[in-house]
């Protein structure tokens, strides 16, 4: 049975889930995420930040804005109430300026995660082979160098293990120049959970967890993007 989040989005004919919805869905699949809450006003953003604890991250919430940081829609490392208030105003203004027709739900408030190795996991559908999972290092590694590995769903542990070790940047996961190494078993577990989830959820067309921060004792997705199949 599809998740309520999926049924609701399909009913609304909005195939692009917001970050908040995407994260709830991932959470249901057993994938750790940094919780995001929706603030519909500046004062709400400030009070949520205080509850979450500083520093926080604010991001635009709009089903029409997919590339949030390109639209000035992300502010990181906000350390106090004043910074949060200012960020809220700026994010909403930037979104209206760059995407005048976008429906703006508000701004998401989340805890600023501690630094770790940035990795990306994602799913898309191949015309011949169906859902495929991707793994790579986040940021410049995926965007410029395209240092990524793919596997066809469903994955077995060997596939997860091989695809992580297949990327050229693998040594960075083992701890480079004193950086905390990533726990590879945890990343394998995440890939297997994701494989299992997308295998059972044909309504999903594309998915990005970008980035996931990988630590020596765990990993957490700080952003998520889920796009559903458009209903005929």
């Amino acid at each position: 049975m599809p998740s309520k989040i999926i049924s609701a989005a399909l009913k609304d004919k909005s195939p692009v889930l917001t970050e908040i919805e995407s994260k709830q869905l991932m959470s249901e699949a057993g994938i750790p995420v940094i919780e995001s809450r929706l603030a519909k006003s500046k004062s709400q953003a400030v009070s949520m930040s205080k509850e979450t604890g500083f520093p926080v991250v604010l991001k635009i919430v709009s089903p029409d804005i997919i590339h949030k940081s390109d639209s000035g829609g992300v502010k990181l490392g906000l350390g106090n109430a004043t910074q949060v208030g200012k960020a809220y105003t700026e994010i909403v203004a930037a979104a209206k300026r760059t995407n005048p027709k976008a429906r703006i739900h508000g701004v998401s408030v989340q805890q600023m995660a501690k630094p770790g190795v940035e990795v990306i996991m994602g799913m898309s559908k191949d015309a011949q082979f169906g859902p495929v999972l991707m793994f790579g290092l986040g940021g410049v590694f995926v965007e410029v160098l395209k240092d990524v590995a793919f596997r066809i769903v469903p994955l077995v542990r060997r596939d997860a293990s091989q695809m992580i070790r297949e990327i050229k940047g693998y040594p960075l996961l083992e701890g480079y120049r004193g950086q905390e190494p990533a726990n590879i078993t945890v990343l394998e577990d995440l890939l297997l959970k994701l494989s299992d989830f997308v295998d059972k959820t044909p309504e999903i067309k594309e998915l990005d967890l970008n980035p996931i921060l990988a630590y020596s004792d765990g990993a957490v997705a700080v952003d998520a993007r889920v796009i559903l199949e458009s209903q005929a």
Partner: protein, 482 residues
């Protein structure tokens, strides 16, 4: 295996191992290419042709002609159809009525032409054959090749020998070229098929068949696309767990028009997904015909290496530098030998200008010194016994005329290599560089092939092949755990 698959394999087996073959529509304009190719066929060959102008030519070939498939007495296991496309549906109907094992359609001009007529006719033969469960191969293909029984699609193909390599190609050119080029390198085919437009039987059906075929130990495939990716994936994973499967994917650079909103979607091009499929299933990816031939002959003839440490023997100073670079770049180690090996070498290695660390530079003066055979025997023996070395690589430089023309010198050297190859547990890789003469290199290669020893035409091809073999054996080991 499903019941449907079992039935397909059973019927396909009849087509791949026919006792009788009928050619429909062979003609002067084609040079009677089909009937001529079948001059080597062990069973009955029939012609079906209604054009009176063609009958004398067919009679001249000593082939009995009939006016229709249904007129042929006794069963027909395989039909080759080279008829005009408009007649194709009628031939399919006759094949169904006759109860043949399979039909290969050389006829082209169907959907690949993107014409209304071509698309309509293709749909018609597809529907007829699918409904009746007829094994239709093609259209637009050269069909089946089984050298053991002399079933060929060109007179240039070898016949009369048993083989262990199955080849599956969408393209007829690649199927033909592989069979001919491969033969030069000692690759003997069990069965091969070109399947063209794949309207009824697709690559997966042939992979399933060759996977079950006891004669076939190694499978090569040239694929442009598959009809059902999931079925192909499952079949490949199952077959590749039992036999080496090499895949050469054509059309890798195709620009797929995909509307995507995610990083993943933007990066998931068809070529990288195919790479994932091949890796995930434990198959071997090759990028061209040369690589296909190199890796298959290595799988057939070269013993599996236990490690990546190579002992190199080259025929000049310059070559010994370059061969080291090439093997090191391919990820192989070129270690020093043990002290006792060097002590043994010092007792006989007296080649002026040569040296013997690793690589050995034996210089082309090698064949002019007193006892080249015993020197080579000793060098190979040292490599064989040295615990620091996993594989032995030997360059032969056929500018040395004796290797081909002076029988008295050449045979003992080749014998020495054969003896080592049979006795040693270590893989032996021969590189016949063509420096001065392609013809001399080919002659040397042929002499080695006759002795069951494959050779490579340059250092890069040899090194790349060794690397891929090492990766394959590594992935086989990984494949055994989940």
């Amino acid at each position: 295996m499903s019941k449907v698959a079992e039935r397909t394999v059973k019927n396909l087996d009849r087509a791949f191992n026919p006792r009788s073959v009928a050619v429909v529509g062979d003609k002067q304009a084609l040079g009677y290419m089909w009937l001529r190719s079948l001059s080597s066929f062990k069973g009955n060959v029939y012609s079906v042709q209604i054009d009176p102008h063609e009958l004398p030519g067919i009679a001249e070939l000593g082939v009995e002609n009939y006016r229709g498939l249904l007129g042929i007495p006794g069963p027909v296991d395989y039909v080759i159809a080279a008829v005009p496309r408009a007649v194709a549906p009628r031939i399919v109907e006759d094949c169904i009525k006759k109860g043949v094992g399979g039909v290969g359609f050389f006829t082209s001009g169907f959907a690949e032409t993107n014409t209304e007529e071509g698309i309509r006719l293709q749909q018609e033969i597809t529907d007829l054959a699918s409904k009746a469960g007829l094994n239709l191969i093609g259209p637009n293909c050269v069909g089946l090749y089984n050298p053991r029984i002399g079933l060929r699609h060109t007179v240039a193909q070898a016949y009369g020998e048993e083989g262990s390599v199955g080849f599956i190609a969408q393209s007829g050119t690649h199927a033909t070229l592989f069979s001919i080029v491969g033969h030069h390198h000692g690759i003997k085919i069990s069965k091969s098929v070109s399947y063209g437009n794949a309207v009824v039987l697709d690559s997966t059906d042939f992979l399933d068949y060759m996977g079950a075929d006891e004669e076939t130990e190694v499978i090569g495939m040239y694929i442009e696309g598959v009809k059902d990716g999931k079925r192909f994936f499952d079949c490949l994973r199952e077959v590749a767990s039992r036999k080496p499967v090499l895949i050469w994917k054509g059309g890798e650079t195709e620009a797929g028009a995909r509307a995507t909103a995610s990083h993943t979607g933007a990066l998931a091009e068809s070529s990288v997904v195919w790479q994932a499929v091949i890796r995930q299933c434990g198959a071997i990816k090759v990028d061209n015909l040369d690589e296909m031939v190199d890796i298959i002959k290595a799988l057939l003839y070269i013993k599996p290496a236990t490690g990546t440490r190579v002992g190199l023997i080259a025929m000049s100073g310059g070559q010994s530098v370059v061969i080291t670079d090439v093997f090191a770049k391919a990820g192989m180690e070129v270690p020093l030998l043990t002290e006792s090996s060097y002590e043994r070498l010092a007792t006989f290695f007296s080649i002026i200008g040569g040296s013997y660390r690793n690589p050995f530079d034996i210089s082309s003066a090698f064949l002019m010194v007193e006892d080249p055979v015993s020197n080579l025997t000793n060098m190979l023996d040292i490599m064989d016994k040295d615990p620091n070395i996993d594989s032995v690589v030997l360059e032969l430089f056929p500018v040395i005329r004796p290797l081909t023309q002076d029988h008295e010198t050449a045979e003992p050297i080749l014998d020495t290599i054969s003896v080592f190859n049979e006795r040693s547990q270590k893989p032996l890789i021969i590189i016949v560089t063509a420096a001065y003469s392609d013809a001399l290199a080919a002659e040397t290669r042929d002499k080695l092939v006759k002795r069951g020893i494959p050779s490579f035409s340059n250092f890069e091809r040899a090194a790349k092949t060794l690397r891929k073999l090492a990766d394959y054996h590594q992935s086989r080991r990984e494949q055994s755990w989940n």
